[in-house]
């Protein structure tokens, strides 16, 4: 349908009525920066940030594990087997995916997202128990993972399987959303999809009663790797 006339009409009406610009962009952004610079976690060490992330995420029914860079694959493999996960979606092209795949016991079968979604949609919805992702970073104050899905780990890996397992390095944690956005220069280039995850799927739509496992993963495990980085300057 040709609605180009609508575009001109709408913009024409807005332009005719546009008010005098008030506060400048610079002044507004300085105020936003100043407000967040007072955030309670600014200047915290990566260990403090990891502790906060773990505490906040656990409060929304996230299973948080702490491990070092060497021991986590075995720890996670064992936990997956104990939970009865038979199939695990992961990206073996990544170092973490390869390490985990190598550690899995025979009862847990690794799978790669090596075809477009259309080619195996029904199988993904019905036949995958867990998805493994490596977070780009984390946000301590709200207990949030920043996921940037890519070709090897598409967005549905953290969404469709009933269990989502995410790994995050303590050295990548930020104090708050504002700090993450600045440190990672989001405005300079956004991926197709950037997802902030703060717990397993949930809803309070029935009589304000909280229930987990609405449409996304029923369970979320987060593995925080204490990689002994220098403190986060943000």
């Amino acid at each position: 349908m040709n609605t180009s006339g609508s575009r001109e009409r709408i913009l024409g009406k807005l332009l005719a009525a546009a008010p005098a610009p008030g506060m400048s962009l610079r002044e507004l952004e300085d105020r936003i920066d100043a407000h967040h610079a007072r955030g309670p976690l600014r200047g915290a060490s990566s260990t403090e940030l990891a502790d906060t992330l773990a505490r906040v995420m656990a409060s929304v029914r996230t299973d948080v594990l702490r491990a070092d860079a060497h021991s986590w694959p075995a720890l996670l493999a064992q936990k997956l087997a104990a939970a009865g996960a038979a199939t695990l979606l992961l990206d073996t092209a990544s170092a973490e995916g390869a390490a985990l795949a190598a550690a899995l016991p025979p009862g847990v079968r690794p799978m790669s997202f090596d075809r477009p979604l259309e080619a195996w949609k029904d199988q993904l919805f019905a036949g995958v128990d867990a998805g493994f992702t490596v977070a780009r970073s984390g946000i301590a104050d709200t207990g949030t993972l920043v996921l940037a899905p890519d070709a090897g780990t598409p967005r549905t890996v953290s969404l469709v399987p009933p269990l989502h397992v995410a790994l995050v390095y303590a050295s990548t944690l930020h104090a708050d959303l504002h700090a993450a956005m600045h440190a990672e220069a989001w405005s300079a280039g956004m991926p197709t999809n950037l997802v902030l995850v703060s717990g397993p799927s949930k809803t309070s739509d029935i009589q304000q009663t909280l229930a987990y496992g609405a449409h996304g993963p029923r369970a979320l495990w987060v593995l925080i790797i204490d990689d002994e980085a220098v403190g986060d300057a943000a």
Binding site: T3, S6, R7, I10, K13, L14, L15, A17, A18, P19, G22, M23, L25, L28, E29, I32, H35, V56, D114, P116, L117, E118, K121, F125, T142, T144, P149, D150, A151, P154, R155, T156, L159, L177, H178, M181, W186, S187, G189, M190, T192, N193, V195, L196, V197, S198, S201, K202, T203, S204, D205, I206, Q207, Q208, T209, A211, G213, A214, H215, G216
Partner: protein
């Protein structure tokens, strides 16, 4: 499918209010929900100073965006297109529906899975698509419940707020195969999950609303807890995002304070489970996500509010619902009585622009002007002042020429009422006339009518006092 609610005659508003007030079950549900939501919000803002600073910031961000709206929309459009999205402009609800229908027709689509979208409620999308043989399936749990019940959302954040778990248990038992009656919320949610699972995989199109949009990157920012929004925007091959055109702000960074205000004010959460940031359709080499992304920018009366300096503040709204959750009128009558997509205080100030004052003139009068809505608004919309202004416009002489006339100006205008007020103000301005009136009113008080229109429906008739205040003061030696 029910007839669209906005075709209800406006006179029915008062009748629906009476019905709602008689419904003790509804009153119980509403009170419980309001108390819960108010407590949750309060707990999120323990530091009053921080709250006020954040409200200042939220207001500044929204006012900046509105001051630059036309240029931001052009920039947003260019960045969306650069990312591979298609942009459509809809001046009216009908145009929005026609645009979406055309996309569906071209794709041969038979079903649309919907994330939560109040804009789609506003344009009556489900109704329109049903008339054209296309199924819209609501996937937000609350929206799914009201769709099964053949109703409309009664709240913009919690659509099924008016329903008890027993209502929902019975509804699911009737509509979802192999689902025994239950009042256990976990059991009910799992039944809803099971019922909708395949619909995500099968739908030809996913349709979502948009909470915020950033002009500098062309990013859509969606806020949710359930994951249905992510599924609707990730799994089908086409994603259509329908958004009120006022939602765009200059940059991603500007959304940070707004997102915090939204989730804390709406449901008392520091953050929701998912912030889903979408910038364009699937790129080369990616394995999932929609191949087509369409963004529909909706005016539908917003430009009318924009044209007026005072009413423009209406468009600062971020749809958190805090004004609704704190409104004593909404708490008593519930969301359906309003008959509009957006109920409560925000509905009273936005609906006249969407639907015209002819259909909505009574809404602004259903307020005691207690001010609670303005006090909790995270972006400082002066809602009580806007209610008074809309009452003024509804009572303005339809023939009076003003700079920015509202659609339906003078919908409540009454010549006889104006005459009475003219007489009244004239009498007050002339001491001689006023004294005469006072003398007559106190002497003729026995003739005061027993029936005084709406006043005497629930109250004793008004009778002038035997002695005027001025007379009493004079007797006490105090000058008039």
């Amino acid at each position: 499918m029910n007839a669209p609610l906005h075709f209800m005659p406006p006179a029915d508003f008062r009748a629906r209010v009476s019905d709602a007030l008689q419904d003790s079950k509804l009153r119980g549900s509403m009170r419980g929900a309001m108390n819960f939501l108010q407590d949750k919000r309060r707990a999120q803002f323990p530091d009053a100073d921080e709250l006020e600073q954040l409200r200042d910031l939220g207001e500044a961000v929204r006012q900046h965006a509105l001051a630059h709206l036309p240029e931001l929309l052009v920039q947003f459009e260019a960045n969306l297109q650069a990312a591979g999205a298609q942009v459509h402009w809809a001046a009216t609800a009908d145009e929005a529906n026609a645009i979406i229908h055309e996309i569906a027709r071209r794709r041969g689509a038979r079903s649309i899975i919907k994330g939560k979208s109040m804009a789609s409620e506003e344009v009556e999308l489900n109704h329109y698509m049903a008339q054209h043989g296309i199924d819209c399936i609501e996937s937000d749990m609350g929206e799914y419940i009201v769709q099964l019940a053949g109703e409309k959302p009664s709240h913009i954040v919690m659509p099924a707020l008016h329903k008890t778990r027993a209502d929902i248990g019975a509804l699911f038992e009737r509509h979802i195969p192999d689902t025994p009656y239950s009042e256990d919320v976990d059991t009910l949610i799992q039944a809803g999950r099971r019922a909708l699972r395949q619909a995500f995989a099968d739908a030809d199109i996913g349709l979502s609303g948009v909470n915020f949009a950033a002009a500098d990157t062309g990013t859509l920012w969606l806020v949710e807890n359930e994951g249905n929004g992510r599924l609707s925007t990730s799994v089908p091959d086409v994603h259509i995002a329908l958004m009120g055109m006022e939602k765009v702000v200059a940059s991603l960074e500007h959304i940070v304070p707004l997102a915090s205000l939204l989730t804390r004010s709406a449901t008392g959460q520091a953050i929701t489970t998912y912030f889903n940031l979408i910038t364009g359709p699937r790129r080369a080499g990616e394995m999932d996500g929609p191949r087509e992304l369409h963004v529909v920018l909706l005016d539908n009366g917003r430009s009318q509010a924009y044209a007026d300096e005072q009413l423009r503040a209406t468009l600062q709204c971020i749809r958190c619902g805090a004004c609704i959750n704190h409104c004593p009128v909404y708490e008593r009558v519930g969301g359906h009585a309003y008959g509009t997509t957006y109920p409560g205080p925000i509905g009273k100030i936005i609906s006249p622009h969407l639907l015209g004052l002819e259909a909505t003139a009574d809404l602004a009068t259903a307020s005691s002007l207690c001010g609670a809505c303005g006090e909790v608004c995270p972006v400082r919309i002066p809602i009580p002042a806007l209610l008074v202004r809309l009452r003024t416009e509804a009572n303005r002489d339809p023939a009076q020429a003003v700079a920015h006339p509202l659609r339906g100006q003078g919908a409540s205008f009454s010549r006889s009422e104006r005459l009475v007020w003219r007489f009244w103000s004239g009498a007050f301005a002339r001491p001689g006339v006023y004294r005469w009136f006072r003398w007559a009113a106190t002497r003729l008080r026995a003739f005061a009518p027993r029936s005084q229109l709406g006043w005497t429906r629930h109250r004793e008739p008004l009778v002038p006092a035997a002695r005027s205040l001025a007379d009493l003061l004079r007797e006490r030696g105090q000058a008039e």
